[in-house]
């Protein structure tokens, strides 16, 4: 059954009409850490959509708190639905930081935290503090993961408080150097668990 109002089709065949103004940003999935070794978003699993449905996907990190002081939030992507997270990536990483006491304001590239065709996990947030009130938050944008022509670009910006009581504003970007479709993304600390925090996935129409 459809519904037509004033000559305009509102919905039909089980879907809102494409001509109707509706939000372009769709919430897909929220994962909540609780002493979690990894948090994974795999297309087709647990209601996750990570395919050609959207040309852009947005991950948001809310209050990522490590189980161990001074650990880093990292991520990797998969082209085999989560069987392996080991896609080659070339990335950049720079950081603005300042102490809570106002000292040491710095803007600098961190060559040790980037990748040159590395297949390991890539750092998004460096050195998150383990005090009860310390955490990291931010966003990661992944472009067109289902393309089988182009590399897969990503851009991330995060803010965090580190184990030395510094504010860190991390900027990282790069590409997964594959023309296979990326169909899963996994997050984890570089060691130890994600004690708490939420990661949400959105699709941008």
């Amino acid at each position: 059954m459809g519904l037509i109002s004033n000559g305009t089709t509102i919905f039909d065949a089980g879907a809102l009409d494409s001509g109707l103004a509706k939000g372009a940003m769709t919430f897909i999935k929220k994962l909540t850490a609780s002493g979690s070794a990894t948090l994974s978003f795999v297309n087709g699993a647990s209601g996750v959509v990570l395919d050609g449905t959207y040309k852009e996907y947005l991950f948001t990190f809310n209050n990522i708190h490590p189980a161990t002081d001074g650990k880093r939030l990292t991520f990797n992507v998969s082209i085999d639905t989560g069987s392996n997270y080991n896609v080659a990536k070339t990335t950049t990483f720079f950081q603005a930081s300042v102490g809570e006491n106002g000292s040491d304001g710095t803007l600098a590239i961190q060559a040790g935290n980037d990748l040159a065709q590395g297949t390991g996990f890539h750092q998004l947030i460096s050195n998150v503090g383990g005090d009860n009130d310390q955490c990291g938050s931010g966003i990661l944008t992944l472009f067109d993961p289902s393309s089988t022509t182009f590399v897969k670009h990503f851009i991330s910006t995060c803010s965090s408080s580190n184990s030395s009581d510094y504010l860190q504003n991390d900027h990282t970007a790069g590409y997964a150097n594959t023309t296979s479709a990326v169909d899963a993304v996994q997050f984890k600390m570089d060691s130890g668990n994600i004690d708490a925090g939420v990661i949400c996935l959105y699709g941008i129409a």
Partner: protein
């Protein structure tokens, strides 16, 4: 016919009621390049909205692939596309890292900024978008309040692209169209040659 649920109007007169949440980000227009010399979004043409309907507009670049290695650029118009030559002052910096791991840098790029320039603003700071089949440019350009007739028109862009190095390039561009006239069009192009393929999407943000 309208639909009223529990006393609340959900839709009427062919539209969802304004009181029903529909999201604050609305897709306005998608342009797909195919050997295109330019891609233009002009208010009132081809269903493009670029006026006071929204206070903020987002352009998303999805795998912009050039016909020949070149910069990816944009400009504004205040006369519905007759001229793309608005005066701009801008900042440009970026960070890059080669696949070979033999060069990485974070630096301001003086050659790509504008000081009251009317020419195109380069988005692919520090390099040309590469031409290998898998190379492309992705990113976002945010334009604030283009219809304002009091203030300059601020913009900010963040992107990532691959140059022929091959190198991962992450440029940051910001500035303002130094005009108090309403901006009613934005045009994108390569510095030379065509946009072989790719999409540019325009969104309005309530």
């Amino acid at each position: 016919m309208g639909v009223i649920s529990n006393g609340t109007t959900l839709l009427d007169a062919g539209a969802i009621d304004s009181g029903v949440p529909t999201g604050a980000m609305t897709l306005i227009k998608t342009l797909t390049a195919s050997g295109s010399s330019t891609l233009s979004f002009v208010h009132g043409a081809s269903s493009v909205v670029l006026d006071g309907t929204y206070k903020q507009y987002l352009f998303k670049f999805i795998n912009i692939h050039p016909a020949s290695a070149s910069k990816f650029e944009f400009n504004f118009t205040i006369d519905s596309g007759n001229n793309y030559n608005v005066t701009k002052t801008s900042t440009t910096f970026g960070v890059f890292h080669t696949e070979a791991d033999n060069s990485a840098s974070l630096a301001y790029k003086t050659a790509h900024d504008l000081a009251q320039g009317t020419g195109n603003q380069i988005l692919s700071v520090h390099g040309d978008v590469g031409t290998a089949n898998d190379m492309s440019f992705c990113g976002t350009l945010r334009l604030f309040d283009p219809a304002n007739t009091t203030f300059v028109k601020h913009f900010m862009a963040t992107s990532n692209f691959v140059d022929n190095g091959p190198t991962s390039m992450n440029p940051f561009v910001a500035g303002y169209g130094n005009t108090t006239s309403a901006i009613n069009g934005v045009r994108f192009a390569m510095g030379s040659g065509a946009i072989a393929s790719g999409q540019i999407k325009l969104y309005g943000i309530k």
